[in-house]
Symmetry: C2
Subunit: 190 residues, 2 copies
DNA sequence: ATTATCTATAGATCTATAGATAATGC
DNA sequence: ATTATCTATAGATCTATAGATAATGC
């Protein structure tokens, strides 16, 4: 039953990866430790050899989810040097992203639940969120660094809010309207 | 044990009211039927005489929460005829609202969970959400009705996103920065 | 007589732990 | 010998229901 150190490290990684996916799909309360371990191909009881608690996993999985978003959007920006902001916005506000919270933005997927989590979870997320804001600040218009940061915060809030509202709405046409409208709105602000 | 028809109607109302408060405070999964009945001063088992399921209560309580927001913001607008939009925005993005999700905007409080609820819940909310968008559309700038609606959607997304992000962040200074920045951003868009 | 509420419980979860098992790595 | 994983379970939830109780309202 015992596995090698390397194998164990891979298991740990797979647990975090599965959790990052499932938490975004079903929420922190909607996924049990057992669900995560099942998807990782391990049994429930083995979890506590890797982590102290579900809370620790929530922190690590949330951090990884945002970290991956930072990497993803950094690549998107690199790939579109002439109009990076609109490329990022179109990707974020796509119907593809709307349909796949499990691989998308953590804040849109579980933002209102994250707000109620203990600070260990919030702090873990914050570390990567800061990088995300810096990334956006580099591609928004603004004369000073401070102005760019302010614009980045406003754009990010608009994106997160739009995706959450689009997902809350039962009518697909209204969802599309929300995403398209906010996309145009961000474009109008440059 | 039996109570009068009037009393029963009041009990039903109180259950919905307590649920609307508690769901916004702790999320749909964070509050049990028993919690709601306890706050309403009734016992757990009595719940099923009033409602078919927790899902039905989620729909009714969510609808009531948004309905109350519509009433509240209608009054705020009435009370500030010269600059209604900024008055609404300042109220929405206040630190008071940040600290009290249980009486505030449903979308900011449980938006990412609402996105995963069955359509019965989403539809109940949608009815009132449409009124909220119409309310905002009346006070935003725009030459045509369509332009006002577009601006209302963008403003609403920005407000909801900003409040969720402010509540996710573990540093109170950063929370303040987010709320203040988005407040200025909405003002700049008129 | 009817029925709103209460008590009690079934059945299905959940997190976390204890002890057994079996493969790694000294 | 050590230890990563598994099996089994404790203890605490959760939604929903069945049957008892007692007050309303015909």
């Amino acid at each position: 039953m015992k596995v090698s150190k390397l194998q164990m490290a891979e298991h740990r990684d797979q647990i975090i990866e599965s959790a990052a996916r499932q938490f975004r799909e079903s929420g922190f309360d909607g996924i049990s430790v057992s669900d995560v371990m099942k998807e990782a191909g391990l049994t429930h009881g083995g979890f506590y050899g890797h982590f102290d608690s579900k809370e620790e996993l929530m922190a690590l999985a949330s951090q990884r989810a945002v970290h991956k978003s930072v990497s993803k959007y950094a690549k998107i920006i690199e790939g579109a040097p002439q109009k990076p902001l609109m490329t990022l916005v179109e990707s974020y506000l796509s119907s593809r992203h709307q349909a796949h919270p499990e691989t998308g933005c953590l804040f849109a997927a579980v933002g209102s639940e994250l707000a109620r989590q203990p600070s260990s979870v919030k702090h873990a997320v914050m570390q990567e969120e800061a990088k995300l804001l810096e990334l956006i600040a580099r591609i928004v218009p603004g004369r000073t660094k401070a102005a760019k940061r302010r614009r980045a915060i406003a754009v990010f809030a608009e994106l997160v809010g739009a995706m959450i509202l689009a997902r809350c709405v039962p009518d697909p046409e209204l969802s599309k309207e929300i995403l398209a409208t906010v996309s145009d709105s961000v474009a109008a602000g440059q």
